[in-house]
């Protein structure tokens, strides 16, 4: 297990290094300048500005400089906000995105597991049919369309929730639902498959033969075993939540990293784009790592066969 974790951490570092390098290189290839009124500046002024921001040095030097600063937690200054440190911005906005993400994950996971269990137990019945239909709809409809529908009906038409913002608990409801239903649908689908499979296992028949009540069989034997593989979907789920929150933050004007990122792209704010991209990548890579390790801990069969085979 120790060796496995070490190997995974090694891959993680390599991947992350590649991300940093690629982000840096693509930023250097970007068209346009980061200066607002570049066409009104004289070449001397432009050179002065470039010198001030360190953009006049050869690219390898800039690269090493960037790496060195990064090791010290310094992601450079935002071009757009008068060289305020990017790290500061991200630290300030990250908790908000995290809050949105975690709330959506909890909402989606809990509801998804419950729906999946119900659907699995009543397989082929009306309840199952309803759940399956619902999951296909929620997996297919893009979160931003869903958000627009919710916003239109619940905020504009019946004015139950605020249209935009992120302060009182009421403002959390619609964004969390918008992201959460996608999570819910994927998890419900997965949970249903697991339930159906577990309920067909021999040990369920044994439990029934012992005379256990249906509730006890389902609660003690079926659900517990069906829950294990749920851990594996949580990794890919994170990616979906990150993508979702990017648009949802924009739609509901939530001051998280997502809306900041879109803002930075539009204004060619290189350091901000790089910082945010790296944060996203780090988040994604670390989550996958944790999920893989967690899975090894929960399910001993995987450890025996020497790590997940993918």
């Amino acid at each position: 297990m120790g060796r496995y974790i070490l190997k995974r951490v090694g891959y993680m570092l390599v991947t992350f290094y590649v991300v940093i390098t690629l982000t840096f290189l693509s930023m250097k290839m970007l068209p346009g300048t980061p200066f607002k009124f570049a066409n009104r500046l004289t070449p001397e002024q432009l050179n002065q500005l470039k010198h001030y921001y360190g953009l006049d040095q050869p690219i390898p030097v800039q690269y090493l400089h960037y790496l060195w600063n990064m090791l010290h937690g310094d992601l450079g200054g935002s071009f757009q906000y008068g060289m305020q440190p990017v790290t500061e911005f991200l630290l300030q906005r990250f908790p908000i995105s995290m809050e949105l993400g975690i709330e959506s994950m909890i909402f989606g996971t809990v509801l998804g597991i419950v729906l999946g269990i119900i659907s699995g137990i009543y397989r082929g019945k009306f309840l199952d049919w309803g759940t399956v239909t619902l999951t296909v709809l929620f997996i297919s409809i893009p979160s931003f369309i869903f958000a627009a529908i919710l916003q239109y009906f619940f905020s504009v038409k019946i004015q139950l929730f605020p249209v935009i913002g992120w302060d009182s608990p009421m403002t959390h409801v619609l964004p969390v639902i918008s992201i959460g239903v996608g999570v819910m649908a994927s998890i419900a689908r997965f949970m249903r498959t697991e339930m159906v499979e577990v309920l067909n296992q021999d040990y369920i028949v044994t439990a029934q033969a012992k005379g256990l009540s249906t509730v006890a069989v389902i609660y003690k034997h079926a659900i517990r075993n069906a829950m294990i593989p749920i851990v594996t979907v949580i990794g890919p789920m994170t990616a979906a939540v990150v993508t979702g929150s990017l648009v949802i933050e924009n739609i509901f004007a939530i001051p998280g990293i997502g809306s900041q990122f879109i803002d930075a792209i539009v204004t060619n704010d290189y350091p901000m784009i790089m910082g945010t991209t790296e944060l996203y990548a780090a988040l994604f890579i670390v989550t996958i790592l944790i999920v893989d390790i967690l899975y090894g801990v929960i399910d001993p069969r995987i450890r025996v066969s020497g790590g997940k085979s993918s």
Binding site: S26, M29, L30, V136, P142, V247, T277, A281, F284
Partner: protein, 335 residues
């Protein structure tokens, strides 16, 4: 019941003469795996309905933009923000040409009907919507091709040759897959100018990964089986073994996976256009139309409604069809 049972006596039973030639006979025609899958797919009502809806959308996307002879970018402010009106359907509130109880068409003295209404620049939304659908479908097509060409070849080579080749290819793939596809796509789109080409390259670059993995797995499973050994003994080349034996045997998995990459490609285009990184005006795509309409959502909800319905329908139908194909090709995976 008891009375009839009593009348059945032992001497009514006797051995049946078994004809040896009968046991060799195969009743029912022989069905290939392919035919079997088609048969299962056709009986799946949801999947068939989805296929018909997709076909309708494809046909409308091709002929729709030519219905009224407007171009995608024909602007005319005098006919801006007209609600949808369809001559024969004016009894349905959504197609009456009225907004807030007022007949906008009468107010603006406009006699032609706009089926999906017009946007704030007076562009015909029917034309723009179906043009946008074309873009989504083109992207779906490209994603499919990328999956099949890059993914199958990469996975096939990696799985078949194994050893050092596999090791190198898998490490590369692991690193590419370790970076979220959103980050890849945004970086690629930043370098290139946003537009159809950039989106295409971005989707090409990320969509083949899962296909490569799946094909590699299939190859590893199949390559040591007897029929491959037999073929090799007969002197078949590597290329022939891969393309004649291994890939046809994993075609089910390939088709299933392709079907699921189509909706995700359509979604990504819409997502990127919605956040302003994709197709830009004057060109239209379903995502950019939803974005444009979204600005007017509170006043003119119909501008978001139709592109939203069409993209949702496309995604739902492709997903249901994918599920249907999976059940048809691999009944073991039936959920």
């Amino acid at each position: 019941m008891t009375t009839t049972e009593a009348s059945v006596t032992k001497d009514l039973f006797g051995p049946v003469e078994a004809d040896n030639s009968e046991s060799e006979k195969i009743s029912g025609e022989s069905i290939s795996a392919w035919k079997d899958a088609v048969r299962r797919f056709v009986t799946n009502k949801g999947a068939m309905a989805s296929m018909i809806i997709i076909a309708l959308i494809v046909i409308l996307a091709i002929i729709g933009p030519h219905f009224f002879g407007y171009g995608t970018d024909d602007q005319d402010v005098s006919r801006a923000n007209l609600p949808p009106k369809i001559g024969a359907l004016t009894w349905i509130p959504a197609f009456s040409g009225q907004e807030g109880g007022v007949d906008i068409y009468k107010e603006k003295h406009i006699t032609t009907n706009y089926w999906f209404g017009t946007d704030q620049l007076g562009r015909d939304l029917w034309t723009r919507t179906w043009n946008g659908t074309q873009i989504s479908l083109i992207i779906a097509l490209i994603a499919t091709l990328a999956d099949v060409l890059i993914g199958v070849v990469y996975g096939g080579v990696s799985g078949y040759f194994g050893g050092m080749v596999d090791n190198v290819l898998q490490r590369i793939l692991e690193i590419i897959a370790g970076i979220p596809s959103l980050v890849w796509i945004i970086l690629l789109i930043l370098i290139m100018q946003p537009g159809l080409f950039a989106i295409t390259v971005a989707i090409l670059a990320t969509s083949w990964l899962s296909m490569a993995r799946i094909v590699r797995g299939e190859m590893l499973k199949l390559k040591n089986q007897e029929f491959v050994l037999a073929s090799r003994t007969l002197g078949a080349s590597d290329g022939r073994i891969i393309f004649k034996h291994l890939i046809p045997n994993s075609i089910g998995m390939i088709i299933i996976n392709t079907m699921f990459s189509v909706p995700s490609a359509i979604f990504f285009e819409a997502f990127l256009s919605f956040i302003g990184l994709g197709i830009r005006s004057p060109q239209s795509s379903l995502g950019s139309l939803i974005n444009d309409g979204y600005q007017m959502l509170q006043i003119h909800p119909y501008q978001t409604l139709y592109p939203g319905i069409i993209i949702s329908l496309l995604l739902i139908c492709f997903n249901i069809m994918g599920d249907g194909l999976r059940d048809a090709f691999d009944p073991k995976l039936r959920r």
